[in-house]
């Protein structure tokens, strides 16, 4: 397995995702002899994981079961250990499309942070592209390098430990795209421009505050970038349930005009209406 290539069976050294149920999963480093504790019991890597097909159900010692999933950048984003605030797949999707990323693209990114976006970018540019990612925090940079190694993608990424605003990305005139997720992106626009190829390069900056966006747009314009667009994307997830609503008793269309309104038909022909329910699938915004 790797994050850029599907494998069929679980192998020693893989990173796999243990799925326990709705919104409940965690990553696990598969290793001979290791055990993993779950609320359903123990998973023994050597017997329960290694050699099994991804997507299999694994029964744990207490009797409950879990599914073992092949890692993807999206699953990783939902389960990675946070060292910083991360980008989620909704934003990652639109960034990827707007930067026109595809296999072979050369991308520059700063800051690396917890590597959420990095994994997605690497997946998209593989097998012939490359990600140059810059992180000014030494331990985070090192942790990122370690994770890329474990995930089998180190040949597709270069992590540089420096301040992008002072020293840029470490490359010139080759990037198809640059992405910035830093507190002061306007300070890095000049460096972004020199990393980008001469014409047709695309840049994207992510900022939580509109003031940052304003400053960055101005800097972009001053540096000669055109067709500057600002977007916000929101994800709305629906909760789907099947509910049964009671049917109100509207009485019977009477055939005889008896005034008492007593029901003269035998009970077996008519289900008691207050016990009747209609089933519908419904969705509710989460």
């Amino acid at each position: 397995m790797s994050f850029v290539e599907y494998g069929d069976t679980i192998k020693d050294g893989d990173t796999a995702i243990v799925f326990l149920g709705h919104e409940s999963m965690f990553p696990v480093k598969v290793q001979h002899g290791s055990v993993t504790q779950t609320k359903y019991g123990v998973i023994r890597h050597s017997t329960d994981l290694i050699g099994k097909k991804y997507g299999s159900k694994v029964t744990c010692s207490k009797g409950g079961w879990v599914f073992i999933l092949h890692p993807t950048p999206e699953l990783w984003t939902m389960n990675l250990p946070h060292r910083t605030q991360i980008l989620y797949s909704t934003d990652i999707s639109i960034i990827t499309m707007m930067l026109e990323l595809k296999p072979g693209s050369i991308v520059c990114e700063s800051g690396t942070g917890s590597g959420s976006l990095s994994h997605a970018l690497i997946r998209t540019v593989a097998p012939t592209g490359h990600l140059y990612t810059v992180e000014f925090h030494q331990q985070r940079a090192e942790k990122a390098r370690e994770e890329f190694r474990e995930h089998g993608v180190e040949h597709l990424v270069t992590v540089t430990n420096q301040d992008v605003c002072k020293n840029g990305f470490g490359v010139s005139n080759i990037a198809d795209a640059v992405f910035l997720d830093i507190p002061s992106p306007w300070e890095a626009i000049g460096h972004a421009k020199s990393a980008l190829k001469a014409e047709g390069g695309r840049i994207c900056s992510f900022s939580p505050c509109i003031e940052q966006v304003q400053r960055t747009c101005l800097a972009m314009e001053e540096s000669g970038f055109t067709e500057i667009n600002t977007l916000e994307i929101l994800l709305r997830v629906y909760n789907v349930r099947t509910v049964s609503l009671q049917i109100p008793d509207l009485g019977k269309a009477a055939e005889d005009n008896s005034s008492t309104g007593f029901d003269s038909s035998s009970p077996s022909h008519q289900a008691p209406l207050d016990a009747v329910l209609l089933t519908s699938p419904v969705s509710v915004l989460l």
Binding site: E5, Y6, D8, F19, G21, Y40, K53, Y54, G55, S56, K57, W65, F67, T72, P73, E74, S89, T90, S93, I94, T96, M97, M98, E100, K102, P103, G104, A120, T124, P127, T128, G200, I210, V213, Q214, C217, E221, E227, I228, N229, L231, E232, I233, L234, V237, Y238, V240, R241, T242, V243, S244, A253, H269, A275, V276, L278, T279, P281, V282, S283
Partner: protein, 445 residues
């Protein structure tokens, strides 16, 4: 032949018949920010500005005359400003806005760019949303990511979006891996796909398979005996027949439908002669015509044989039941598509279904839960908002919600027959107690 897109406001797609180099065209790269004005005169607000339609002193004909004289757009805009009585009373922002508007109208700025999913999907959503089932570009972006579309995948794509979704998937796969496109009717529509301008090798691993054969494939009764009617073949046949009667046409198709020999078949030459008058002069003409027809017939049979071969290849790929993902974006009800096509997908792989409406996905969700073999089901929608960001003038422009369609996504797992895959304690939470439920048809009237 290169595919390019003309962008900036008016999005058109154009195929250039020859290579274009930057020096061939006069391109104006001026961005749309206003050039500095000679006079910096401006007002403070609009309390005294009356919009009576009489502020502009140049008439329609005057402007036309200027245009005909051939003067540049920049000059026309300058003229309009000078001949506007209210311009100097406008605020600076209003002047900016006015100039931008006039520039847009009179200065045609064309930027030539390479086609991409970003451009084509925004184009289609803006101009022909009906052709793509109102799939908004941010929704498409989600599909590509949720589906983990990347180089090396073996993807199954079922779409009726003119080939836009297929093109987007192909772009993200970069020519690596393989795609099997499922199609309704006679053949897949790839109008939008050709706009991407992919190099030919990208199409080497693009297969197609008719939906009408899915059931037979799943039940093991699949054969290549009856192909869906190929519209292209029929059209070709009509062109060739010219003076020949339709008898020959049907005769050809009948012979085509017979059990496929590995070698193309010869048609019985006597059938051709029945339908034509023979005269001395015509004999020679007829002979060459016969030769031509035999050639065409042979070509047609070769084509048919090739089609059968490709169909068998696609069927073989599907039969392996190890696809790395499934993308569905069509006008059809998603439930039957998913329930059948998921059979071809390997376990622990993502799938994404797009639907213009939410309700069919509610049903799909419920049916998938019953089927089992899927986890992490999520029904979602994205809202998109774009902003105008200018100094002291930043505000949102347009919010797009609801009109971009909905997505149902999930991950496959090993399907165990007869068991539900709901997580251990979850199964009970799904529905209300069943004893009192009753369908609408069962109600006494």
């Amino acid at each position: 032949m290169k595919n390019v897109c003309l962008t900036t406001r008016n999005l058109l797609s154009v195929t250039l018949k020859s290579c274009v180099s930057p020096t061939d065209l006069e391109l104006d790269f001026t961005n749309l920010y206003p050039f500095p004005l000679e006079t910096k005169e401006a007002g403070t607000d609009n309390r005294n500005i009356v919009d009576d339609g009489k502020s502009q002193k140049l008439t329609h004909d005057d402007i036309k005359a200027l245009k005909d004289k051939g003067i540049k757009g920049q000059e026309i805009v300058q003229q309009l400003i000078e001949n506007s009585t209210t311009f100097r009373d406008k605020t600076e922002f209003a002047q900016d806005k006015y100039i931008k508007k006039k520039k847009k109208k009179y200065e045609a700025v064309i930027t030539i760019v390479k086609p991409s999913t970003r451009i084509l999907s925004t184009m289609y959503y803006a101009r022909e949303p009906g052709k793509i089932n109102h799939l908004r570009y941010d929704t498409l972006a989600q599909m590509l990511t949720l589906g983990n579309i990347h180089a090396g995948n073996k993807m199954i794509v079922m779409e009726t979006c003119a080939g836009l979704v297929l093109g987007a998937v192909m772009e993200r796969m970069g020519g690596y891996g393989s795609i099997i496109q499922m199609y309704p009717g006679g053949g897949p529509v790839r109008a939008a796909t050709s706009c991407f301008g992919f190099p030919k090798p990208f199409f080497d691993n693009l297969h197609e398979f008719p939906l009408s054969k899915v059931q037979s494939l799943l039940s093991g009764t699949f054969s290549t005996e009856t192909l869906p009617a190929d519209p292209e073949e029929n059209a070709l046949g009509e062109e060739e027949s010219n003076g020949l009667s339709e008898e020959k046409q049907t005769a050809l198709q009948e012979t085509g439908e017979e059990p496929a020999a590995e070698a193309p078949m010869e048609i019985n030459p006597t059938e051709e002669q029945d339908t034509m008058d023979i005269s001395a002069e015509d004999v020679e003409f007829k002979e060459t015509k016969e030769k031509e027809n035999k050639e065409n017939v042979r070509e047609k049979h070769i084509k048919q044989w090739e089609r059968r071969k490709k169909l068998k290849e696609a069927a073989a790929l599907l039969r392996e039941k190890n696809a790395d993902g499934l993308i569905v974006a069509s006008k059809f009800h998603p439930t039957p598509l998913l329930l059948s096509l998921l059979e071809f997908v390997a376990p622990s792989r993502p799938f994404v279904v797009y639907c213009q409406y939410k309700e069919p996905l509610l049903e799909c969700y419920t049916k998938l839960r019953e089927r089992g073999g899927v986890i992490n089901l999520k029904l979602s929608e994205t809202w998109l908002r774009n902003y105008q960001v200018l100094p002291d003038r930043s505000h949102p422009k347009l919010t797009m919600s609801g009109g971009g369609g909905y997505l149902l996504s999930g991950i496959t797992v090993v399907l165990e027959k007869g068991k539900s895959d709901s997580s251990n304690s979850e199964a009970l939470k799904m529905e209300e107690p069943s004893s009192k439920r009753c369908k609408l048809q069962d109600l006494p009237c």
